[in-house]
Symmetry: C2
């Protein structure tokens, strides 16, 4: 077993929980592509696509590398990593054990007396 940590899982789920990013992964699942071409295919601006690509790459779902084309242009090609997430209640229960908690002071439960 030993899936991703709770924090990593949240990051991966957040990266996938978006229509555009889902379409990016879907497109790259077929073939690798470079940024400008991908932006044209998906119909989104390059700055926007750039942001989504960073989010997906940060989550480890895609990887990109800069290559030089024949005519000397710098092209950044992205492709999907072969991730495999199996989500069930028990798998989530296991991952949740490694969740980093926000530390709002150390007080146990916010006692209410009203």
């Amino acid at each position: 077993m030993s899936g991703p940590t709770g924090d990593d899982l949240v990051e991966m789920l957040a990266a996938l929980a978006n229509p555009i990013r889902l379409r990016i992964v879907a497109t790259l699942a077929g073939r690798r592509d470079y940024v400008s071409q991908l932006a044209r295919e998906l119909g989104v601006s390059r700055p926007l696509l750039h942001m989504h690509l960073r989010r997906l790459e940060a989550a480890g779902l895609i990887t990109g590398r800069l290559e030089l084309s024949e005519d000397g242009k710098a092209m950044k090609y992205y492709e999907v990593t072969d991730f495999d997430l199996h989500l069930t209640a028990s798998a989530i229960a296991e991952a949740a054990q490694t969740l980093t908690m926000p530390d709002p002071g150390k007080g146990p439960a916010p006692k209410e007396s009203t």
Copy 2:
């Protein structure tokens, strides 16, 4: 196959992409629980928990029903549904085909012909 639609998938992923909601599912994976008790265990306020529970239930990941306790109190018990999401690039590629995009009248994908 026939997994969830693209939109449903986005909703499920968005529902799980949150530390609190992940802990809710993790807790309910062990045993069903009612709102106030769950709020105490997780250390969150009831209005906040209520919001998160609604999001999870809307995504079909948990279900709640109102029951009457021995002493006449109305308790809302939640439990997890037995969902099973298998996330790979190809599975996402399939689901992405049924994504509804808020595309303002952009008929065919502009096949760029540079």
